[in-house]
Subunit: 230 residues, 4 copies
């Protein structure tokens, strides 16, 4: 079942080592079939060079495994909460990519310092608080999902305009309109995190890019008046 | 038309990912045929691994598309202004290469700290001011070109001796006697930006290289008394 | 003799350049056959691209060479002390991998700043004191082993929960349940060292990850209640 | 003539891009035949992917070109002075490798922070003063050689124990017993420069490694009592 989606999710997973975003098994991609209410995700702890499309695990939105010989990613409950709350997204990525994870470990949101960031992400990439002891010990992965969703609501952020988040002391999640788009945004996030790191080293007192420049670049690629691309 | 130039501009564009200067579609190269008053530029938002020489777009110096199925780069109006004002240049490159863009985001010109820089670029690589709200909202890409040209005039800089510039909160433009030479200068710029970053980390109070050393290296490679190379 | 182990140790050694952990001959891996009380180790100063499984040297736990045409690694006496004291380990790696060695040169233990670290290493990676003049001049490599063992005892650290250490002004040793697992931990150490470096640059006043988050991640991969992987 | 040496010097030159030490043509290697009093050097400004063994240029120790269609490296006069003064060296390398050049631009000697450095270089890698205006304008490349030689004499440094130097605002020279050994030392220098950079970021108040540890590592690889390697 969902053979086409399994193939796409498999290929999106394989893009992670190709783009240098994962070491060993430290990442996972999922993609959803919204009509059927099912999503496909990487199995837990399987090496990328041994992964096949058939290894992908099919889950429903109550968290039941519908198909698959293997256990799904240990982060499956986080993906599930994001799919339930963010209706427009079609794919999710979690990695420990080096620069984005370093910002998460530092507990800092990534300011928008330039047009590379503004082309894809509207405003800063937020770094959320750590989970509480109770949230960690109770249902860690599910509570990670709740926190992301609740914070996006509280901050009035549109998940399609801010397609990434940093979980403090952990690492990034990114998403997009489908699995490949989510991987694309995860690559952008890592590049943006790297440049922001270097920008602050060159000029410790740097300020974010002017709002009008951020708007110009974001809206020349997104929305009704976009004119970038074909 | 301009089949030879299209091929050269295509190959110059393909050098960008080869030298690690671009992620996804974040860069573009153009080249001009000065006699015909036409320039050839990469189409907007097309992946490098799908690009062909035939995809290149031919533009005139009034900004009209003369040939090509695809839309030209969204930065075409910037290229156009540079070709109109800088009579000696034959090629232009725009990238978001990581170190040069970090200096641009930091809003700092790159000082000449050594001979690697002085071999190619006479004096600092200037970082220009951000565009004003009006300049951004009116004709952003064209005004980027105007700003570069006006600032070079105001600073009395010769574009052939300073073949690169940083646009604040955006990234670098580089140019040269033709499209390949422009790419060469874009690679140099990124290396120089990287070394300057590291130089300041090692010695925060570092001063630029002595003027006489900069002169020696620049003029052993450029002008009537050059003796570097064959 | 020990042909299978020699092959494994050879392959584990070859993983070091593959993962970018060694320049030239700056690293060595060994693996032990606990029943026979013999271990196999890389020969000293042999280039990785000339290494063969037959070049591996067989040693006993009194430090006698049992088989092999070549001299064993100059660090053999350190490996020997670790095997004698840490009964559970089956493989050892020494490298001069760049970030871990930089922490060792800085004389600082690597704090646990996030889940990437906590997934594999319980608490900080300790940086030991330098050897004394007497310890260096007397039996340097053996005394390096004694220091690691004595410090782990003094700090009450379980070598299976903390599978790596930094030797001040020198570099890292890592170990694991076998030679391949030791290499795996050496790769993790380098990634963790790199992220910790970047984390402190982004936020100089950063604190280690909360204890409960470290516990959650360590114990979801290790021990009786682990649920990561297949 | 000198066909064997030309082949070796060619191969040593080709190692520079292989080890990531050069961008474009920014480097050169030479090797000397001491009996004949002739040395072989890369031609000036020739791309590495177009270089052939036949392109190598043969020079005598008065600076006359003895054989070769092409002009020798613009740094030939520096090589010449080093060969005349340092009787034991058989090969010389000049690069603009990124970290070593950054230390040179910062005007700082590289302290010996650990055993990776001490294994190859006895004590710090000295960064010399800039040439004076007169030295630059008179005979720049020859005076660079004089400065290196005079400073080594003044500092009482043995060029075989300190096989590298930094020229302020310029970059490194390295040497060795032959051309390949010189390249080996240039690679070591870049690794050591990188680690020293990172070490100081991790611990700004770091001190050099203890003298007894430097001695131990240097002399376990060099001199009468060496025991590293086969």
């Amino acid at each position: 079942m969902l053979e086409e989606l399994k193939k796409i999710v498999y290929e999106a997973n394989m893009k992670l080592p190709e783009h240098g975003l994962v070491t060993f098994t430290w990442g996972n991609v999922s993609g959803i079939d919204k009509e059927k209410g099912l999503f496909v995700i990487k199995p837990s702890g399987v090496d990328y060079d041994k992964l096949t499309p058939e290894d992908m695990v099919v889950m429903d939105l109550e968290g039941n495994k519908i198909e698959g010989k293997l256990k799904p990613s240990s982060d499956t409950a986080t993906h599930l909460e994001l799919y339930k709350a963010f209706a427009e997204i079609g794919g999710i990525v979690h990695t420990h990519s080096s620069y984005a994870t370093s910002w998460a470990q530092a507990g800092r949101s990534i300011p928008c310092y330039g047009t590379t960031h503004a082309d894809y992400i509207y405003g800063e990439v937020p770094c959320l608080r750590c989970l509480t002891k109770e949230e960690i010990e109770d249902a860690y992965e599910e509570n990670t999902g709740h926190l992301i969703v609740n914070e996006f609501i509280r901050m009035k952020k549109d998940p399609m305009a801010v397609p990434a988040v940093l979980c403090k002391n952990h690492g990034p999640f990114a998403w997009g309109k489908d699995a490949m788009d989510a991987v694309h945004n995860a690559v952008v996030l890592e590049e943006v995190a790297k440049m922001a790191y270097r920008t602050e080293t060159i000029q410790p007192k740097v300020l974010p890019a002017p709002k009008e420049l951020q708007d110009k670049h974001y809206f020349r690629k997104h929305g009704a008046n976009a004119y970038y691309g074909q």
